[in-house]
Symmetry: C2
DNA sequence: TGTACCCAATTGGTATACCAAAGGAGTTCA
DNA sequence: TGAACTCCTTTGGTATACCAATTGGGTACA
């Protein structure tokens, strides 16, 4: 890769999200210089930004691509339920009808794109667009963060034509509830969609763990031990 | 200041939180070199980290201390309600009784410290400690972020002995509800506490806006206009 | 053969030099 | 008098040089 003149941040991010750089892989700033055709200063900036998105992290003194962590998938989903259900309740209060129409178009657009990549992007686009209708930048940003952290595992998810159609259906049902201004139903749909995604991700990851590790992926399950008392 | 050998990040952060650097103030990387006794590389890193906490932001090509934004206080509070009420519900499920006892001690500690500074720190400590009992790093981190973004305005808040006692009372009531494993009550208490804080902050900021601006503070009210349709 | 020590290469942390672009002040012309 | 242009200063963006610390390998010794 080393795309001609994309920013180091964008190039590195794309390489991580596409799994071209494997989860858990060690990164050295000097090693990335040649890969990204840039010097260490912008590379350090990119690594720090990506660390804030959870895509890279420190490993001792150095850096690594954040491993895939089953416990993190669970925790992110809990966080997502809090953020997205709050967002949809506010969106029901605040979104204009035309905005909900546009959101429905976004959900329905899955019809034509059956390939995996656009299906992935569209799915994320829908949830971020929904969260933005809350008119709350923090909820929208939280949702973006959630999708970023789940996106590498979504590449691994089984995305059959049927599962894509089911996601599209659930999205459309959410929009219907929002148009009906039924905040309680919309919130329930959001939560159950989120849990369905989590369960599909976790079962698939557990099933494929051995194979993926064989390909060099670092798949861990971090401790959920109680934090030390103050 | 220019404390001897604290990191540029810590020194700059303290200067912003203490309002020694005023909200809205323009920062230049080279200007900070002498103030922080460091070179531009670590200073840039500090500015980027602080931007992720919402304490600095880009202003054109340069940097500034993030102005105090009434709309942001409202939005952060909405986000806080989502995060903290989810956290308290999970904490009711997951926290050991000894952990709740320790939390109560934290809340009760306000009794002795009547001065403003420790009152502030303790208040934040309590809410972060509560959120950590959810065993969810994202909820705890979200709560930390909320308190950071509100902390400069809390310096400005009227913190009479009476208001501190009221906060302490509300905190203790939360712990009682958690000990009783009454998630629904605990959640209600968290939300109403959050709204009370918001209202006190906003009324105080509105009242004092003129005076604070006279002291050079940048206090704005950013637009809440709907985002552009996709 | 195994262990311990030492040297060298690699790494991140920091300082600094150089560049291009943006901003401001001063001057000039209408 | 006002507007516009030019030049210079200042700024962030980037590349690079230097340093200290860590790590890994290779060798020597028991």
């Amino acid at each position: 890769m080393a795309t001609a003149d994309a920013t180091p941040y964008a190039t590195l991010r794309a390489a991580i999200l596409s799994l071209e750089l494997m989860p858990g892989e060690k990164l050295s700033e000097r090693g990335l210089e040649s890969m990204l055709n840039a010097s260490r200063t912008p590379i350090r900036a990119a690594l720090m930004s990506l660390a804030n998105e959870g895509l890279t992290q420190r490993a001792g003194r150095g850096w690594q691509v954040t491993p895939i962590d089953l416990a993190e998938v669970r925790a992110v989903t809990e966080y997502r339920e809090a953020v997205e259900s709050a967002a949809v309740v506010l969106a029901v209060e605040r979104a204009e009808t035309e905005e909900l129409d546009a959101l429905r178009d976004l959900a329905a657009a899955h019809r034509d794109n059956d390939d995996e990549e656009t299906g992935l992007r569209d799915g994320g686009d829908f949830h971020v667009a929904l969260a933005r209708l809350s008119r709350n930048a923090f909820l929208a940003e939280g949702m973006r963060d959630v999708l970023t952290r789940l996106s590498r595992t979504r590449w691994l998810e089984v995305r059959t034509a049927q599962s894509r159609l089911q996601a599209r259906d659930e999205h459309l049902r959410m929009v219907d509830a929002m148009v009906a201004r039924d905040a309680e139903l919309a919130s329930r749909l959001v939560v159950s969609h989120s849990r369905g995604t989590r369960d599909r991700l976790l079962t698939h990851l557990s099933d494929e763990k051995r194979r993926l590790r064989g390909r060099g992926f670092s798949i861990i399950e971090s401790s959920t031990a109680p934090p030390p008392l103050p």
